[in-house]
């Protein structure tokens, strides 16, 4: 029977907190970039310009058919080399965090764009007609009338996707980046207390994600009754 010894956790808290900050940084940046890029992809997909909608469809289908961990590895292994040779970035500069963020953002954009496309399609067609009839251009009608309504309906789904993304950030361990999970693993490995640290990390992930999805559900119910 394994004897639990939690004593290495209190001392490691500052280090774990640094890891949590990296996890949150990746999550937030990827959510923001993912939603912006995902919105553009959704607009392209719905566009009547064939090359644009074709490109967006290909992008979404490609990224949704590849495991996330592979995308992360590509960005970790290949993209820094590309940048070095193309733009003369100094060799060996640490781009793990930025390449992880870029990988997540591009990957998540594919999922966000599908949520956003459904959101746009959920807005009655007459709204676009009414905005156009008032003389708004397509861009104005989208920006002022359709997208605000679409996003209001989508907020719960976008947040849920953000929670999934937060859990998935633990995959950056493949690039030896010390996110929360990576930090916990390192501490546990160093002190020979891997089981305790991984249990602790799991509990933290659970508390954060469970709380967040409760909040989302609460908001969702409020939206329904409004």
């Amino acid at each position: 029977m394994h004897e639990f010894d939690w004593s290495s956790i209190p001392n490691a808290l500052p280090f774990l907190w640094d890891g949590m900050k990296i996890s949150l940084e990746i999550t937030l940046s990827a959510v923001v970039f993912g939603i912006v890029w995902g919105t553009l992809l959704a607009l392209m997909r719905l566009s009547s310009v064939t090359p644009l909608s074709w490109f967006a469809a290909a992008y979404v289908n490609l990224f949704r058919a590849i495991p996330l961990v592979m995308v992360l590895l590509w960005f970790f292994l290949i993209v820094p080399h590309l940048l070095e040779s193309l733009f003369g970035f100094p060799r060996g500069s640490d781009m793990r965090l930025s390449s992880a963020i870029a990988g997540f953002a591009l990957f998540e954009a594919a999922y966000y764009s599908e949520i956003i496309r459904a959101g746009i399609q959920s807005v009655p067609k007459g709204q676009m007609g009414a905005a156009s009839a008032l003389g708004m251009t397509y861009g104005q009608a989208m920006r002022l009338v359709v997208l605000p309504q679409a996003f209001r309906n989508m907020v719960p789904l976008l947040l849920t996707q953000g929670i999934i993304l937060f859990q998935d950030t633990s995959l950056v361990y493949v690039s030896a980046l010390a996110d929360f999970f990576g930090a916990a693993y390192k501490v546990g490995d160093r002190d020979g207390r891997l089981v305790e640290l991984l249990l602790f990390a799991g509990a933290v992930y659970f508390v954060i994600c469970f709380t967040a999805s409760r909040i989302v559900r609460h908001y969702q119910n409020k939206l329904k009754t409004a």
């Binding site: 156009s132 009839a133 008032l134 003389g135």
Partner: protein, 242 residues
Amino acid sequence: MITMNKVSKHYGSFQVLTDCTTQVHKGEVIVVCGPSGSGKSTLIKCVNGLEPFQSGEIIVNGVSVGDPKTNLSKLRSTVGMVFQNFELFPHMSIIDNLAIAQTKVLARTQEQAREKGFKLLDRVGLRAQAEKYPGQLSGGQQQRVAIARALAMDPICMLFDEPTSALDPEMVNEVLDVMTELAQEGMTMMCVTHEMGFAKRVASRVIFMDQGRIVEDDSKEAFFDHARSERAQQFLAKILHH
């Protein structure tokens, strides 16, 4: 003001409009009626280019709607339109619904737009509702707001697409009253409606459509007293005797 010449439209092999030709002069009120599926709504939506058409031409105030070089947004900003389902913007207050296109399309200042909006709300009797949201208003009130929203753009003519069809019966009159008043002030109007009482009171001409064609286009007296086509006679018999 509006000239239609042999306008035809089809969805695939389904012919929606066939050779529709008519004119609307300044100050005229045209009522468009006919059985459902006869193409009335499609016809009126062609006037401001919300529905594209394949052949023929529509000239609104000297501008060709079907010409690809025409700036449709600019044209539409001069033609007011009221929809069957109101289509107010649910995420904006009533006054913002009236102000948004004024500021974004006509580049009026927020103060000018709101002032104009309040004036029009006064006119349709809804000044007190200015800060509410569309969902808090009755259907009749929403449709009056929609009319005010269209008028806020100072349109040269107004298109109405079955403005009372989605309303509870007791709310129909408050909307028709606003429309009647508008007609009496000399607004050029094209109204798709089944309200024959309204047509008898204010229409200058009645257009009767059937299967995508304009079957009758006559003064209201001629239309109601001795409609020429059998189809129109049947339609009138059904709609007037109940």
